[in-house]
């Protein structure tokens, strides 16, 4: 089982604890784990695309180069289905196909989860409901499902490359 899948499983476990007995800590950790499940799913795919797996550890180090804020911007750029170019990326970054519903959904959920993760980890004033975790974990599961469809698409390599190098494409 990959780290991403383990994190999703962990998020699922925490989110599905008895809602009458669960705690803010459980809910917050569920939301955080849901985000990181998606983050590591995409990070592993990025690394697999841009880095060989030998020598051992090189690909894992590549994942460390990813930046959450930059990934957020890329996710925003890809969040409109049917668009023929990714908003805010340079005009000469060509998408082979219009953005699919699946990719737009992945991008949209990535943004929502990252924002929720930040609130869950740092906003101590916020009172979460057990449903918040269940709903967000379900969204993370949706990303995993949609990625199975999308990863073979013509746009997937562009999306993944943008996650890593997109910030330098305007140079």
């Amino acid at each position: 089982m990959s780290l991403a899948e383990e994190l999703l499983e962990h998020a699922r476990f925490l989110a599905n604890l008895d809602p009458r007995a669960t705690t803010q800590a459980n809910i917050r950790r569920a939301i955080s784990a849901a985000y990181y499940a998606v983050f590591h799913l995409l990070a592993a795919e990025v690394a697999a695309q841009v880095s060989p797996d030998v020598p051992r550890g090189l690909r894992e180090r590549t994942q460390r180069a990813l930046n959450h804020t930059h990934m957020l911007k890329v996710a925003k750029a890809f969040s409109q289905p049917g668009a023929k170019r990714a908003k805010d990326l340079p005009d000469d970054v060509v998408l082979p196909d219009p953005i699919s519903m699946e990719l737009a959904s992945i991008a949209d959920i990535f943004q929502e989860l990252q924002e929720a993760r930040h609130t869950a980890d740092y906003d101590v004033l916020k009172q979460f409901d057990p449903d918040d975790a269940v709903t967000l974990v379900r969204k993370a599961e949706r990303v995993f499902d949609n990625w199975k469809t999308e990863r073979g698409s013509s746009n997937a390599p562009v999306f993944l490359a943008a996650m890593t190098f997109g910030k330098d494409w305007n140079r």
Binding site: R20, Q80, Y122, D131, T135
Partner: protein, 178 residues
């Protein structure tokens, strides 16, 4: 998005381009002819069509008559989103507005990364959303699908601000009289 419009409405507070002060709309005259279907970015720029409004200066009885819509400036940056969500709550065709959504909140603020954003939060009534003490997978999927569709509609407004569409549970206030 037929029937979605951003026309000024009575009661809204506005400013007038080139004039100091805050005004409240007390009368709206709609144009017989519209220049073009306005998009949200035009609204922010004040280009609203050929109608006019009468405005009352806030804190005074003075009324300014026949002010063209094009001169109106709205302080509320979430206004286009607010109007779109109001429109959605009328359950327009092709969008299933789940019955368990009982309220919503709209807030303009920065997201955690500092991006100017608008947050929409739909609140669900647990009595209708839950089955056997928990929300069903089916209801969660329907809710997530709905928020995704709403997000697409809001992105279509072409606003500069980032859009977040979230969900939460509606909290009831206890009725102490009963």
């Amino acid at each position: 998005m037929a029937n979605l419009n951003f026309d000024p409405v009575v009661g809204e507070e506005v400013r007038i381009l080139g004039r100091a002060g805050l005004f409240k709309i007390v009368r709206v005259d709609r144009p017989d002819v519209r220049i073009a279907p306005p998009n949200a970015r035009d609204i922010a720029a004040g280009a609203l069509g050929l109608g006019t409004v009468d405005l009352q200066i806030v804190g005074s009885d003075s009324v300014v008559q026949d002010v063209p819509w094009a001169l109106l400036q709205f302080d509320d940056e979430a206004r286009p989103v607010r109007r779109a969500i109001e429109w959605l709550s009328t359950d327009p065709d092709n969008l299933k507005h789940p019955s368990y959504i009982v309220d919503y909140e709209i807030e303009a603020k920065n997201d955690h990364a500092g991006n100017p954003s608008i947050f929409v939060r739909f609140l669900v009534d647990p009595d209708f959303f839950y089955e056997n003490g928990r929300p069903s997978q089916e209801n969660i999927d329907a809710l997530n699908e709905f928020t995704f569709e709403v997000k697409q509609i809001l992105l279509g407004l072409g606003l500069e601000r980032w859009i977040y569409v979230q969900t939460g549970v509606a909290r009831r206030t206890l009725d102490v009289a009963s």
